[in-house]
């Protein structure tokens, strides 16, 4: 079936954000998004109406992004691996491994309701965007490209322990970011009025 090019163009911002979280290079992102749109137009006969256009396009985008990651993996420098806050655990926990009192997580109320609100997604995307480059890449490969952890280590040439630590750190940072900017902050309170 024929796809509507204006519908395709409307997906561009989401495609760009998605690819950026993995590639972190605006030229590479632009190339991947263009190539995806081109492939979509060339192969539009392959699009069946039983899936949404977005799902179909994102399947192409995922594959193109993985190809680019693979081609570019030599450029991932070792210095990126020990990105900033190695001491995140030291902030969260005391020397006995218990929560530092002010960092102890509090209940978030009804988080699923937040998923219905566009403001929540603005905050969520900003939190993803704020992850350091390599942390973001590892996390996106796991959660969005659904790689197994072993495969992420292989693709990015990371040690297994580094991979696990990076994933843990990404989740901890996202949890803290959502807490500060949504659940404990104004966003959530206002959204409940």
């Amino acid at each position: 079936m024929t796809i509507d090019t204006s519908e395709l163009a409307a997906l561009r911002p989401d495609m760009t954000r998605f690819a950026y979280l993995l590639l972190r290079d605006s030229h590479a992102v632009e190339d991947v998004v263009q190539a995806t749109m081109l492939t979509a137009i060339e192969k539009q006969d392959g699009f069946k109406n039983n899936s949404s256009l977005k799902t179909w396009i994102f399947t192409i985008l995922r594959n193109k992004t993985i190809d680019t990651l693979r081609r570019g993996k030599r450029e991932v420098s070792i210095s990126e691996l020990s990105e900033d806050d190695d001491d995140l655990e030291e902030v969260l926990f005391n020397q006995h491994g218990s929560w530092n009192q002010e960092m102890k997580p509090k209940a978030w109320g009804d988080p699923e309701a937040s998923f219905e609100q566009s403001e929540f997604w603005t905050v969520f995307n900003a939190c993803l965007h704020n992850l350091p480059e390599q942390t973001s890449r590892v996390f996106m490969m796991r959660e969005f490209l659904e790689f197994e952890v072993d495969d992420i280590c292989k693709e990015l040439k990371l040690s297994a322990s580094n991979c696990w630590v990076t994933l843990h750190r990404a989740r901890a940072k996202l949890r803290l970011c959502l807490d500060a900017n949504w659940f404990s902050g104004q966003g959530f309170q206002e959204s409940r009025r």
Binding site: K106, E143, W164, R175
Partner: protein, 62 residues
């Protein structure tokens, strides 16, 4: 007995791999007695779910 720090590592890892029997028991026991880690686990679960819904790609039947 696991520390909160150790429990938190397992809370993340259970999203990526099947924990061993011993790890599961240890984590369950810790969480039953620790509000902070219980909340941390829920929050990491929400982060994980949010990823499934981000970019509007979630299957609506979920």
């Amino acid at each position: 007995m696991l520390s909160c720090k150790e429990a938190n590592r397992l809370i993340s890892q259970e999203l990526d791999r099947k924990l061993s029997w011993g790890e599961r028991i240890g984590l369950k026991l810790h969480i039953s007695m620790c509000d902070g880690c219980s909340n941390a686990r829920k929050q990491m679960g929400i982060v994980h779910n949010a990823c499934k819904h981000a970019f509007g790609l979630a299957d609506k039947s979920e």
